[in-house]
């Protein structure tokens, strides 16, 4: 703070550039956050360019090359029907990223809207929304997702619906708490004074001001979602075969633990790396955007 008040401010760039610099200095300052960012970006590139990067077709069976140990031709070996593990891993990144992005958009979208309404208007509407969120939160996420998947069946679309629904309350609660604080601020009072409508105040002023915590939660939830999807696919009600999902790859490798442990170990390491990276990026974003959120998210 001191340098802003100092005399040297004449030579300094405009304040918003400083803000941006401060953000990057804090965000990229920690080694683990850097690591997380790099790993996330690598997985993102793998996910986008999976067909170009993967050495083989992830669905191509080749029984004559089944259950190979890692070698020069198949860097991570092959599975029971001769599919290349590395290629399946790369395409699995694509599935995880797609599920993550879609789930976070659905849960975030509905959660932010419901939370903003509950926080801003309060009263009976707010109470009804918050009790509904309490109800959803009482049912453990895995069980709720399991029940919804059981009703709808497996497959990518239904996994996204199940997890998207199960994760709404987290966003709604955070948003409601943020809006509750924001609506008491002076700039909202000023908007009321010039006769702005509720919708305008909410959309133009309050929601943008609650952006930071939501962004942090979105990043953290990417990890949670990927972990949950892997769990659902692992017990066979998530992504359905033969689509290469990391969770179902761990299941497929179960019967070959002693002879080909890589089949189960490799996808597990990938899950852990990606989830860890998203959490680290989330941590870094939180510290850089708003350190007061520590303990809240």
């Amino acid at each position: 703070m001191a340098e802003r008040i100092g005399i040297s401010s004449v030579n300094e760039a405009p304040p918003h550039v400083n803000e941006l610099r401060r953000f990057f200095r804090v965000f990229l300052g920690r080694g683990l956050v850097m690591f997380g960012l790099v790993v996330t970006l690598i997985f993102l590139v793998l996910a986008i360019f999976a067909p170009q990067i993967a050495p083989y077709d992830p669905l191509e069976r080749n029984l004559s090359e089944a259950l190979q140990q890692p070698n020069a031709k198949h860097l991570l070996g092959t599975d029971a029907i001769g599919r290349d593990t590395l290629s399946r891993l790369i395409h699995g990144a694509r599935i995880s990223m797609i599920v993550g992005v879609l789930v976070v958009s659905i849960a975030g979208g509905f959660g932010v809207i419901l939370g903003a309404i509950a926080g801003y208007f309060g009263g009976i509407v707010g109470a009804v929304i918050m009790r509904l969120m309490d109800t959803l939160m009482t049912i453990p996420m895995m069980i709720l997702a399991l029940a919804i998947s059981a009703l709808l069946g497996g497959g990518l679309k239904n996994v996204v619906i199940a997890l998207g629904f199960a994760l709404i309350p987290g966003y709604a609660r955070l948003m409601a708490a943020q809006v509750l604080v924001a609506k008491e601020t002076d700039y909202v009072l000023a908007e009321h004074a010039i006769g702005a409508s509720n919708a305008r105040i909410l959309i133009r002023h309050i929601v943008p001001n609650c952006f930071s915590p939501i962004l942090v939660l979105i990043t953290m939830m990417m990890g949670t979602t990927i972990l949950a999807e892997a769990g659902l696919s692992f017990i066979g009600i998530g992504i359905t075969p033969p689509t290469p999902a990391w969770g179902s790859m761990v299941t497929d490798g179960r019967n070959y633990l002693l002879s080909n442990p890589m089949l189960s170990i490799a996808p597990g390491v990938a899950i852990m790396l990606l989830v860890f990276s998203f959490n680290m990026v989330g941590d870094g974003l939180r510290d850089a955007l708003d350190p007061r959120l520590r303990g809240v998210i």
């Binding site: 009790r131 509904l132 309490d134 109800t135 009482t138 049912i139 453990p140 996420m141 895995m142 069980i143 709720l144 399991l146 029940a147 998947s149 059981a150 009703l151 990890g223 972990l227 892997a230 769990g231 692992f234 017990i235 066979g236 009600i237 969770g247 761990v250 490798g253 179960r254 633990l257 002693l258 442990p261 189960s264 170990i265 996808p267 597990g268 899950i271 852990m272 989830v275 860890f276 959490n279 680290m280 520590r294 303990g295």
Partner: protein, 318 residues
């Protein structure tokens, strides 16, 4: 305090009714006639329309939805959760058989998570920025990111298949063979505990860091108390209050984990019951499992909130 208790109780009752409504509606939102869920598959294929109507009447499915809900709810209050489609057995009885198994593992894991997590968090907070803080923080980060079902398989590979120190899977009642039971539950309990341990350690660390910045801690230092006195007498007493909240979250994590861990280790608990019911589309059983789990979490959260309000009176006025 009294108004706070009453307010929280009313909230919990409302949430309880919403849970039952949700669980009831889930069954009705299913495509198709619920009658097919009550009778076995073989019987539904040969049944005539008249037999179906008779059954519908017998199960009250021809009555208005609200009436059906309240009669179902009345049954729930009497512990009547219906009959499994697949095995045609009383669901309450299979829940009574499965729940103790999950509770046995889950409660052990919760105890371990507090016994390990709290000291880890305290050390990390007190020695902030040193290597020990780095170790604890990294372990906690791994604990919340590791896929438990994968960890279960890796443990199984190492300790059961390679080293052959522990049985691969299974569950024997501790009353039948205590020693065998202990050997069987080591790996599952470890898997159940890892996420809550990490969560408790993180929560303790951040809450202790927060408390150690307070004025009363500075006062404690300045009146010449020893480090031990400051940390345990003044710091920990206040620092542990937010950690209690983790009891509810930890229970949620354990319940969610039971679905995965019990599947890997072939443990006949609630989680495996849920997965089995799912595979057979045995919806009444799924209903029962959700209801029991949700009520457990609801009651735990209520207890935590009430004791929180008692320990930290500021909470009551929020």
């Amino acid at each position: 305090m009294l108004s706070y208790i009453i307010r929280r109780l009313i909230q919990s009752v409302i949430v309880f009714f919403l849970i039952t409504l949700l669980v009831f509606l889930v069954m009705r939102l299913l495509p198709g006639d619920p009658i097919y869920m009550i009778m076995s598959r073989a019987a539904s294929e040969t049944a005539t329309e008249m037999q179906l109507d008779k059954l519908r009447h017998q199960y009250g499915l021809d009555r208005p939805m609200m009436v059906q809900y309240f009669s179902w709810l009345g049954g729930v209050f009497h512990g009547d959760l219906g009959v499994s489609i697949l095995t045609n057995t009383d669901i309450r009885q299979s829940l009574m058989k499965r729940l103790p198994v999950t509770l046995h593992l889950g409660v052990l894991a919760l105890i371990i998570s507090f016994l390990l997590g709290v000291p880890m968090g305290i050390i990390a907070a007190v020695r902030r920025g040193t290597w020990i803080d780095t170790v604890v923080t990294s372990l906690a980060n791994i604990g919340i990111t590791i896929p438990v079902f994968w960890l279960a398989l890796v443990l199984m590979y190492l300790f059961a298949l390679k080293l052959q120190w522990l049985p691969v899977f299974g569950y024997t009642s501790p009353f039948t063979d205590f020693w065998e039971n202990t050997r069987q539950i080591i790996m599952p309990v470890f898997c159940f505990a890892i996420t809550p341990v990490a969560g408790v350690a993180r929560q303790t660390r951040s809450s202790m860091l927060d408390v150690m910045r307070q004025d009363y801690i500075r006062t404690a230092w300045s009146k010449g108390l020893r480090e031990r006195g400051v940390i345990f007498k003044h710091g920990l007493k206040n620092g542990l209050i937010p950690v209690m909240v983790f009891l509810g979250l930890g229970l949620s994590a354990i319940v969610g984990g039971s679905v995965l861990i019990e599947t890997v280790f072939a443990i006949p608990g609630m989680g495996r019951l849920a997965v089995e019911a799912m595979g057979n589309s045995d919806y009444p059983v799924i209903q029962g499992v959700i209801l029991v789990f949700a009520v457990m979490v609801l009651l735990t959260n209520l207890l935590v909130d009430l004791s929180y309000g008692w320990l930290d009176p500021r909470v009551q006025y929020r």
